[in-house]
């Protein structure tokens, strides 16, 4: 290509000499993990993990399992897209799981039908005036709930200068309180048919992919994305360069909150019910997806693509354990190990980078 090397007196723009993107390594890890499960499956049960082992001609892959893996990671993956942005600024968001819980309860209350099988809705939260509403109402309510929670996080972090860990930990506890208080702990059920369509079938996957593409473009091609990286990379430099750091952080936390709201809408629609315990430890799963995908907890490094691959790795591991018929207890134990392992790997990478420089 002609554009590959624009030399001007010694310095060039040469795309062939660009640094090896970290996402390749993450993708290689995904392939490696799949191969390990394939190997273990062949050895122990004589079955293939992802490929169709029943010798049918119409498919190469085990579509059912692939669908489960992708569907499983989609709802938490939506949260992970927001958490990625927060971590890129050098912050953390521990509140997203609880925000999902609170948003789920409130949103579902605006999505209920008045009659179930000819009888009044047994789980009704409001009177008939707030039932059978058009689908846009609960969706807007859900987005606003998430946005509000995220904005409060942003205010605390950016303007009150409270460490993100503490600010979002407070929100984590309080939002869970809201979720329980809303109906005194009773589940909210029976949504309208239109609302049930949002998370029906493979819709969560489509929503996740659409949002992932959107935020990939936003992070890579807009000023918002560039400033997010700049703040996480060197906050003082960002400030000295004229970036309004507080306003930008506020925006990042608000967007992360709104994505937790989207996740709550999709989740309640898929399950056709909302419970106050929804979304527990989703925040840690979302952080794990980002960290596994190469997003550095110290900020500035990582990408949406990495997080999406990280989400797939996360899904493959969970699904792989089920495939190997390991109990859920073991899954949780190993999940914790994976998160810590990913952080160790990140720190090791940083030290190596520091030594090279």
């Amino acid at each position: 290509m002609a554009e590959d090397s624009q030399g001007t007196g010694g310095q060039v723009y040469d795309s062939s000499r660009r640094q090896w993107p970290n996402e390749f390594n993450v993708f290689a890890a995904l392939i490696l993990i799949i191969l390990i499960f394939e190997g273990l499956g062949a050895l122990i049960y004589g079955q293939s993990f992802l490929f169709d082992s029943k010798d049918r001609f119409d498919s190469i892959f085990n579509e059912a399992r692939l669908k489960i893996i992708i569907l499983q990671v989609s709802i938490i993956g939506i949260i992970a897209l927001g958490v990625t942005q927060v971590i890129l600024t050098g912050g953390i968001d521990l509140s997203s799981g609880s925000v999902v819980g609170a948003t789920a309860m409130i949103t579902m209350s605006f999505a209920q039908v008045s009659e179930v099988n000819g009888l009044p809705n047994p789980k009704a939260v409001f009177g008939p005036a707030f039932m059978d509403l058009p689908v846009v109402v609960p969706v807007i309510v859900g987005l606003l709930c998430g946005l509000l929670a995220g904005s409060i996080n942003g205010l605390l972090v950016a303007f009150a200068k409270i460490p993100p860990f503490i600010a979002t930990l407070g929100m984590m506890v309080s939002a869970r309180g809201v979720a329980k208080w809303w109906t005194s702990g009773r589940p909210v059920s029976f949504p309208t048919d239109e609302y049930a369509l949002i998370g029906g079938g493979m819709m969560p996957v489509f929503i996740f992919v659409a949002l992932a593409v959107l935020f990939y473009l936003v992070m890579k091609y807009t000023v918002y994305g560039k400033h997010t990286y700049a703040i996480g990379s060197n906050e003082d430099a960002a400030r000295m360069s004229g970036i309004n750091v507080a306003r930008h952080k506020m925006m990042v936390y608000a967007i992360a909150g709104m994505l937790a709201g989207v996740s709550a809408i999709v989740l309640t629609s898929k399950n056709l019910t909302a419970q106050s315990g929804m979304g527990i430890i989703y925040e840690l799963d979302a952080i794990a997806m980002a960290v596994i995908g190469g997003v550095s907890l110290s900020g500035g490094r990582g990408s949406i693509v990495g997080t999406v691959i990280g989400a797939l790795i996360f899904g493959v591991i969970i699904s792989g354990f089920t495939f190997l018929r390991l109990d859920a207890f073991y899954q949780e134990m190993v999940k914790g190990g994976i998160i810590v392992g990913a952080v160790i790997l990140d720190q090791w990478r940083q030290q190596r980078a520091a030594m090279k420089a």
Binding site: V12, D14, R18, T222, Y224, Y229, S241, G242
Partner: protein
């Protein structure tokens, strides 16, 4: 281009003074810089060099006195305002974002954009910034293996060069460098000095704060010496030598016109 009666002067200070509580860090500094001139500021630690620079670049607010930049009295609210007016500063601590590449760093906070109606989500003009970066680097003769590499992977000299290249890229009116080679090795220092020579050829005005006598004698037209918060000498390079300058720095001599001040 000239905006005042004395259009050849880019920067002037009258009676510039800065007190930190009871500490008189800078006392009545009268300073002038001609367009295209390269001036070194020398002096011992604590002599007031950095304080002087901080008042001009708006990092701090002066106690009293006037600053006239480009023919107009100025009162910068902060370093960003100074930069917008055309004063580009290369700080001792580099204001670079390690995880971004060269064009991103040059344009940090003043990105070239498209589709501005998108507000904070307006699009970056990567190609425009890349081309401007290459032009700026060419102007300063800075050599960087690949501008798409992140700053993290660059040597100290290359980082300093990136910081200096901002000046050339944005066609500033005045460049201030605060000990640009203090942390650099021999070869890297040479590279930075070559860039400074390049700036001279292009008629850029420069204030160089430095402790390095050899460097100062090689690079600048004039040397201003600070001692204990006051200007004690204003020496044309051709009319002085290293020993003479040292005498002023240590206090063995004081310029005739500054006898009262000292």
């Amino acid at each position: 281009m000239e905006t005042s009666g004395d259009g050849d002067t880019i920067l002037e200070t009258h009676n510039l003074t800065k007190h930190y509580g009871g500490l008189h860090a800078l006392e009545g500094a009268n300073f002038a810089l001609t367009r295209g001139e390269h001036v070194a500021i020398m002096g011992d630690n604590g002599a007031g060099k950095s304080t002087f620079v901080r008042q001009i670049t708006g990092v701090e607010q002066r106690t009293k006195g006037d600053i006239i930049f480009n023919g107009e009295p100025v009162q910068f609210a902060g370093p960003i305002a100074a930069r917008e007016a055309g004063i580009e500063t290369v700080f001792q601590t580099l204001a670079l974002a390690d995880d971004l590449d060269v064009p991103d760093n040059l344009f940090l906070g003043r990105e070239m954009t498209k589709a501005d109606w998108l507000g904070p989500f307006r699009l970056l003009d990567y190609k425009g910034m890349r081309d401007a970066t290459l032009a700026g680097l060419q102007k300063t003769a800075v050599k960087i293996p690949n501008i798409r590499n992140t700053i993290r992977n660059m040597s100290g000299g290359q980082r300093q060069c990136v910081a200096i290249a901002r000046t050339a890229t944005f066609a500033s009116k005045l460049t201030i460098m605060d000990e640009p080679t203090a942390a650099l090795g021999v070869q890297e220092t040479e590279q930075v000095e070559n860039i400074i020579r390049g700036l001279k050829e292009q008629g850029e005005s420069l204030i160089l704060v430095s402790h390095n006598m050899r460097q100062v004698m090689e690079l600048v037209d004039r040397i201003v010496v600070f001692r204990r918060g006051k200007i004690v000498a204003n020496l044309r390079k051709d009319e002085t030598d290293g020993q003479d300058v040292v005498a002023y720095i240590t206090g063995a001599k004081t310029g005739a016109e500054y006898q009262d001040a000292a």
